[in-house]
């Protein structure tokens, strides 16, 4: 069986993620490298190029040796892709690779949150996502963290250490800032405030998961998977659910992986290899048919 080198580029709204993989037909794959760069206020095309080059260099793979460059996320951001797969498909595939027991994905990015239910192959069976409202997203947390003067990387830990939750009354990511201002002036600790925000976001995420019909192990992917405070809050709310529920609900377990943030890129890279194989085989089949016709 052939060995395919492929790359996946996940062009998100806040950062670009790239993964280079080596796959065998049949699904076995190995990660050669990953790279993440935040866009900040730079030109997206430049960041894509830079991140891609970085990943190729780390993997010691020349771009021309890649059989497939798959983009995901923003279709228009990658001008040199062989093909494109949609975010839900790639996150599902990537999540399944990182956490094979997962049957659902919670993909948490800068401007969206998605709950995806999938089968053993990573095929999307059902999903729910936030659309026009940022009240459950990474940008919301970023804004609050910026306001509190806390680096993103510390957000999770601070929230985990909180003993007392500050309840956020507003559902809106913007108006919640007013709540936060009030909390600060009341002298609440940063951790308590963050935990309040986390729980408020988490309650929305739990609803998304339920609506998507998630069951069993849920893999958290996307940048917010790094936020252990948020993940803990989702766990906490899931734990409280049965007490409140009238009917028994499927038991959910959330899991993360150190590479969760690049799940989309990883999935894209692997699906790219898979698709390459599929097309090659089809070509051969068509070729064989033509041959026999002659």
């Amino acid at each position: 069986m052939n060995i395919h080198l492929s790359a996946g580029i996940d062009a998100g709204s806040s950062s670009i993620k790239v993964a280079v993989t080596k796959s065998r037909a049949g699904g076995e794959a190995e990660i050669l490298s990953t790279a993440v760069q935040r866009i900040r206020r730079r030109n997206v095309f430049d960041v894509v190029k830079a991140t891609f080059d970085e990943a190729c260099a780390t993997a010691k793979v020349a771009p021309e040796n890649l059989c497939y460059v798959a983009s995901t996320g923003d279709v228009d951001a990658v001008s040199f892709a062989t093909g494109h797969f949609y975010g839900m498909t790639t996150h599902a595939r990537g999540a399944l690779y990182l956490l094979p027991e997962a049957r659902a994905v919670l993909d948490l990015g800068a401007l969206h949150a998605r709950a995806i239910r999938m089968d053993v192959r990573g095929k999307v069976l059902g999903h729910r996502m936030t659309s026009q409202c940022a009240s459950g997203t990474g940008q919301f947390l970023e804004n609050i963290a910026r306001y509190l003067g806390v680096p993103l990387a510390d957000v999770g830990q601070l929230s985990r250490e909180s003993k007392q939750v500050e309840e956020v009354s507003s559902v809106c990511a913007v108006l919640a800032e007013t709540d936060v201002i009030n909390m600060v002036s009341r002298g609440s600790t940063t951790g308590d405030i963050l935990r309040g925000i986390h729980l408020s976001i988490a309650s929305r995420l739990v609803r998304l998961l339920r609506a998507a019909g998630a069951d069993g192990v849920v893999a958290v992917t996307g940048g917010l998977a790094h936020d252990i405070g948020l993940v803990a809050s989702v766990e906490e709310l899931l734990g409280e659910e049965p007490a409140r529920a009238k009917k028994p609900m499927p038991k959910l377990h959330v899991r993360t992986h150190p590479m969760s943030m690049v799940a989309g890129a990883l999935g894209a890279a692997m699906l790219g290899a898979f698709r390459y194989d599929q097309i090659e085989r089809r070509k051969q089949r068509v070729g064989a048919q033509t041959a026999s016709a002659i």
Binding site: S13, R41, R42, N43, V44, L111, Q132, C133, A134, T137, Q139, F140, N143, S170, V171, C172, A173, V174, L175, T178, I181, N182, M183, V184, S185, R186
Partner: protein, 457 residues
């Protein structure tokens, strides 16, 4: 003198309006809403009291037509006196905080703070002259800007880190802001008189003239502060009614208050649009100022003043700069995102595509007013005369777009009122409800702040 008070505790600002028994507006006060609603209400109320004293002072001087010119520097001087008082408090607070902190022994830091505060005091004087460009009237903003500027220059020469200085300020200002200090208006006024006659505007007058003026002003101050102001009734309104520090009987809905306030000022008003910080209301009133229908949008920042605030932050601009900048647009770029946060992201994206900041801003302003238009339409449309209230009135682009859209949709013969005191309409309406309570034989409503004798006259 008997009077009533209306207080509008908004999400962003708290406003108070004082009305005497004849229905005359005596004074109004505004402050930023804080976490501590009682304090916010009390401060707004004190400000209204002060304004009322100035009103009385003006009347006490009305016999002398030239006195009007002196009132302006007097007001500035008075503001400055208040500023200095607050600054004293700030100094003390920082000192206390520093003592209890791990940096207690850091002499350099202590010295640096003192020096920053000294120069704040010094530089502030320039801001309190007639016509001086002041970004805000709130102590937090004025002192903050001066403090940060000074701290920056100190930090640049490497004396102490910027963060430690600003950190001290941030902590202390919260305490100062939420601390209620009694205000002795009379002695403050007398101090202001002494200061004002030394102000540059009054240069060129002889010593004798000075002397006479001081006497006249001091006399007027005594006259104006002699009479006690008796608050007979207070009615409160505003955002998050459950959090208002008022008894239930003394609370009226914002809808009713805005409708009534706008109608009082412009009796022809049949439609009121209020765009505040966290909500937008479209209100229809009848010829008595009674609300007949309304539509409201809250819980979502898209379409409220906060939307513009968020965009301003995103661009690193002040709120007051937003409108003028948008006015210079060549066209309005349509913004697709409804959500404030998404609009912010879209703004960034469009800027990176090379679109003009002004044009995007124009689109953002249009978006917020369009949302208001749809609320208006749902509440019953605009009929004859229309009043725009709330903080967003201060944004010239918002008012321009509103005018255009009203013209387009309801014809150019609609009268659109925008009062410079638009932000007080809710408080005024509340005051009028308080006046009703006074007119009827309803027993006076209980006072709302625990310490009722804040004004030591």
């Amino acid at each position: 003198m008997r009077c009533v008070l209306g207080i509008d505790l908004g999400s962003t600002t708290t406003k108070a309006v004082m009305i005497d028994e004849s229905g005359r507006m005596l004074g109004k006060g505004i402050t930023n809403s804080r976490s501590n609603y009682e304090v916010a209400c009390a401060v707004a109320r004190i400000e209204a009291h002060t304004a009322a004293r100035f009103d009385m002072l003006e009347r006490a001087l009305s016999y002398d037509p030239s006195a009007k010119a002196w009132l302006v520097p007097l007001r500035e001087a008075f503001r400055f006196e208040l500023f200095l008082d607050d600054l004293v408090d700030l100094r003390a607070t920082i000192a206390t905080n520093l003592e209890g902190s791990p940096y207690a022994d850091n002499k350099a830091l202590a010295r640096a703070v003192t020096s920053v505060l000294d120069s704040v005091q010094e530089n502030a004087a320039d801001l309190f002259v007639a016509g001086a460009p002041r970004r805000s009237d709130f102590f937090r903003d004025i002192a903050g800007a001066l403090f940060v500027a000074e701290a920056e220059s100190l930090a640049r020469v490497g004396v102490v880190p910027f963060e430690s200085l600003v950190g001290l300020y941030d902590r202390a200002i919260l305490e100062v802001e939420t601390r209620l200090r009694p205000r002795d208006t009379k002695s403050l006024l007398l101090r202001a008189v002494a200061r004002s006659v030394k102000m540059p505007e009054l240069d060129g007058t002889s010593a004798q003239q000075h002397q006479r003026m001081v006497q006249m002003l001091e006399h007027a101050v005594c006259e104006a502060t002699k009479e006690q102001i008796l608050e007979i009734a207070v009615v409160g309104t505003g955002y998050g009614r459950q959090t208002l520090p008022f008894p239930k009987e003394a609370v009226r809905s914002e809808i009713l208050c805005h409708g009534r306030g706008a109608h009082r000022v412009f009796p022809g008003t049949r439609t009121v649009l209020d765009i505040g910080g966290q909500d937008t209301k479209a209100i229809q009133v009848d010829d008595h100022g009674v609300v007949t229908s309304f539509q409201m949008n809250d819980r979502c920042a898209a379409g409220c003043g906060r939307y513009l605030g968020y965009i301003a932050d995103e661009l690193g601009l002040g709120l007051h700069e937003l409108g003028p900048l948008a006015l210079s647009a060549k066209k309005a770029i349509k913004v697709n995102s409804t959500c404030t946060v998404f609009a912010g992201a879209e703004l960034r994206e469009r800027l990176s595509l090379g679109q003009r900041r002004e044009d995007i801003l124009a689109g953002l302003h249009r978006a917020i007013i369009l949302r208001a238009m749809s609320l208006l339409a749902r509440s019953g449309g605009v009929k004859t005369e229309f009043t725009f209230t709330g903080g967003v009135c201060n944004n010239a682009m918002a008012t321009k777009v509103l005018r255009e859209l009203v013209d387009e949709n309801y014809g150019t013969d609609i009268q659109l009122n925008i009062h410079p005191d638009s932000i007080y309409m809710g408080a005024l309406g509340a005051g009028l409800f308080a006046l009703d309570a006074l007119a009827g034989d309803i027993p006076p409503l209980p006072a709302f702040v625990r310490d009722t004798r804040m004004e030591a006259t």
